[in-house]
Amino acid sequence: MSIEIKLDKRIASVEILKQFENLLEIKVDDKIYQVDLMHNDEGIFSILVNGRSFNIELVPQSKPKHYTAYTLYDSYDLEVIDAESRYLRNRTGGAQMLSENSITSPMPGKVVKIPVSVGDEVKKGDTLITISAMKMESEYKSPIDGKIAIIHVAEGSTVDANQVLIEIEKII
């Protein structure tokens, strides 16, 4: 049975056809590759395919089954979609909506200022929070017209990458 892997917007189906130790015959969508694949616990992969040498490094992300892959020239975000994730996806289909109505920190940092309070009405583009990291301050603005629903952090607190900071409610 094949597994689906999402790379940026592409969803590819992967399946191993044959295998002998580190020599694999593997199908990605409709292409078949014979690869000599070695990897280690640090997520470092060395893949030889028709003599070409590929070096890939996979770093697991905080969400399970999410990885960032580093090739020589680029980095990619990937997600493995197995039966379990498909089930969770169907159950929490609404989560997508939420993330569009919220502000998430793209990096770890410290909250410098939150010029709004719960219940405030805000316009798209209004600054809702200022985060400082590495001596640089960044302002995050409201993605929509709406009302502040929840503020998850306080001024002075430190935040992790991808943490939801503020949720905004659409005014209907």
Partner: protein
């Protein structure tokens, strides 16, 4: 003349480690100081001794002059090296060192004050006959005054923190409607970075070259320069790439600017290593911009072409020794380039990207020097600068140096955080950079090419997908069987996957 035997390094990151390296070569003991966030930082592990000085924000640790001096006295350090940033251009700190009988490795407090305040520096240079950029000759203390002055000089102008450096508290104003908001943010950033919200205002010279001269002065009245560094490749007013010699330079211009740089140092009876920064326009007119009374981030390229260890010279000068070479003995040999590796997202307006370093592969081999401080498993703190290492290459000539830099950047792998490495590699490929035809507007001008991600062939995308698949199978396996207790035994894997495939 006092032989220094123990130095406290009042800094962190790559520069702290770099200074300790020279100390070790000179047989001098090293003392590190560290904040909460830095207990596992490289400089703590590299030093002979290490003392905790406070909480993570620099205002509570690396800027805490009294605490640092207390530690220096407790551990009997003869001298303090301030590195760059933090207290390096703080006259009060230099003075406190003096008062406590500790050698401050840098110029005298009066000189720091005189050159550190951009206004008095400008006045000093005008008096010494060095050309300066048109602008205010007095510090501007209120918002209103700033706005009035700007209207007087006329747009475009640069607003800069009087006490500043490194692009902090600096704003370019080109449109009238932005004056108020930009003056405010400059002043607020100046306040939070340097504890002083005074600014000054200069006419903005569009697309100039940023060229600086390294100077040394000893306590015996000897002054000399170690040639120029071209620092025009900047983003957000912070340097990204420096090189020496400058592609713009002619032997005549070098001689003339070098003489002015030495005059500038002599005018304040400068002691130690310092840098005279100039703006140079396309007609090769040059203007004094500011003097940095400390070691510069980009000092290694000067070390590489002259063979002089600048930190060693700083220490010898601080001991009171006279310079052992003169201007005529100094030569620029070959070509050196430095790339600054920042933990940042170059695709997203160079947003800092702190986080945990996963793996590092250092570039090695002929003509390559790396000055860094991060290591595998290290978490880059959110409190300090985003520069994590400097890559310096040397070659016989500029075009070979560019090829070597490309090779070194290609080899340099840092995963876990986003870095500027790929962006720097693309800079090495732009015709403007390769032809040496660039000014401070370079990144803006070449934005399109620089932000164009190199295309990965479909093949390569598929390999990434395969790797992810195998990693996923492997993780499944780990989750079910027990992991080896001794990681050393089990790195590269060559076992059968069949068991898993059957389950799928």
């Amino acid at each position: 003349m006092k032989k220094i035997i123990k130095i406290l390094i009042a800094n962190r990151g790559e520069i702290a480690v770099r200074i300790m390296r020279t100390c070790r070569e000179m047989g001098i003991s090293t003392v590190a100081v560290f904040s909460d966030a830095d207990r596992t930082s490289m400089h703590v592990r590299y030093a002979d001794e290490a003392y905790h000085i406070g909480a993570s924000p620099s205002s509570e640790s690396y800027l805490n002059a009294d605490k640092i001096i207390e530690v220096a006295k407790k551990c009997n350090a003869d001298a303090i090296h301030p590195g760059y940033g933090f207290l390096s251009e703080n006259a009060a700190f230099s003075r406190k060192c003096d008062e406590n009988g500790i050698i401050f490795i840098g110029p005298k407090p009066e000189v720091i004050e005189q050159m550190g305040d951009k206004i008095s520096a400008r006045l000093t240079m005008i008096a010494a006959g060095v050309p300066v950029v048109p602008g205010t000759t007095e510090s501007v203390k209120t918002e209103k005054e700033a706005i009035d002055t700007i209207m007087e000089i006329g747009l475009p102008v640069m607003v800069k923190a009087s006490a500043g450096g490194g692009g902090k508290g600096m704003r370019l104003i080109t449109e009238e409607k932005d004056i108020t908001s930009l003056v405010r943010s400059a002043r607020s950033e100046a306040k939070s970075s340097f504890g002083n919200d005074s600014v000054y205002i200069e006419k903005y010279i569009s697309s100039p070259h940023h060229i600086e001269f390294q100077v040394l002065g000893d306590k015996h009245g000897n002054f000399l320069h170690l040639f120029e560094r071209e620092c025009s490749v900047q983003r957000r007013h912070q340097k990204m790439i420096e090189e020496t010699p400058s592609p713009l330079m002619t032997p005549e211009l070098r001689k003339k600017m070098g003489e002015y740089a030495v005059e500038a140092a002599r005018a304040v009876n400068y002691t130690g290593a310092g840098t005279i920064e100039f703006l140079v326009d396309n007609d090769l007119n040059f203007y004094f911009l500011e003097m940095n009374t400390r070691l510069q981030v980009e000092h290694p390229i000067t070390e590489r072409v002259t063979g002089i260890d600048l930190v060693k010279q700083q220490i010898l000068i601080a001991e009171g020794q006279p310079l052992k070479f003169n201007q005529e003995q100094l030569k620029q040999t070959g070509h050196a380039i430095e790339c600054r590796i920042y933990a940042e997202d170059t695709d997203n307006n160079f947003m800092p990207n702190p986080g945990k370093i996963y793996n590092i592969t250092q570039p090695l081999g002929l003509g390559v020097r790396t000055d860094g401080y991060v290591y595998e498993g290290y978490e880059i703190p959110i409190y300090y600068d985003s520069m994590i290492s400097k890559l310096i290459v040397w070659a016989e000539n500029r075009s070979e140096a560019i090829e070597r830099m490309k090779r070194a950047l290609y080899e340099y792998k840092i995963t876990g955080v986003k870095t500027s490495i790929k962006f720097l590699e693309r800079i090495m490929d732009t015709p403007d950079f390769r032809n040496g035809n660039y000014d401070t507007n370079f990144i803006e001008k070449n934005k399109e090419q620089l932000l164009l991600a190199s295309k990965c062939t479909e093949n390569c995308e598929d390999m990434v997908i395969i790797a992810t698949y195998i990693e996923y199978l492997d993780q499944l396996n780990i989750a079910q069987t027990s992991k080896e207790m001794y990681p050393a035994k089990n790195r590269w894997k060559k076992y059968t996957y069949q068991k898993n495939f059957e389950r799928l």
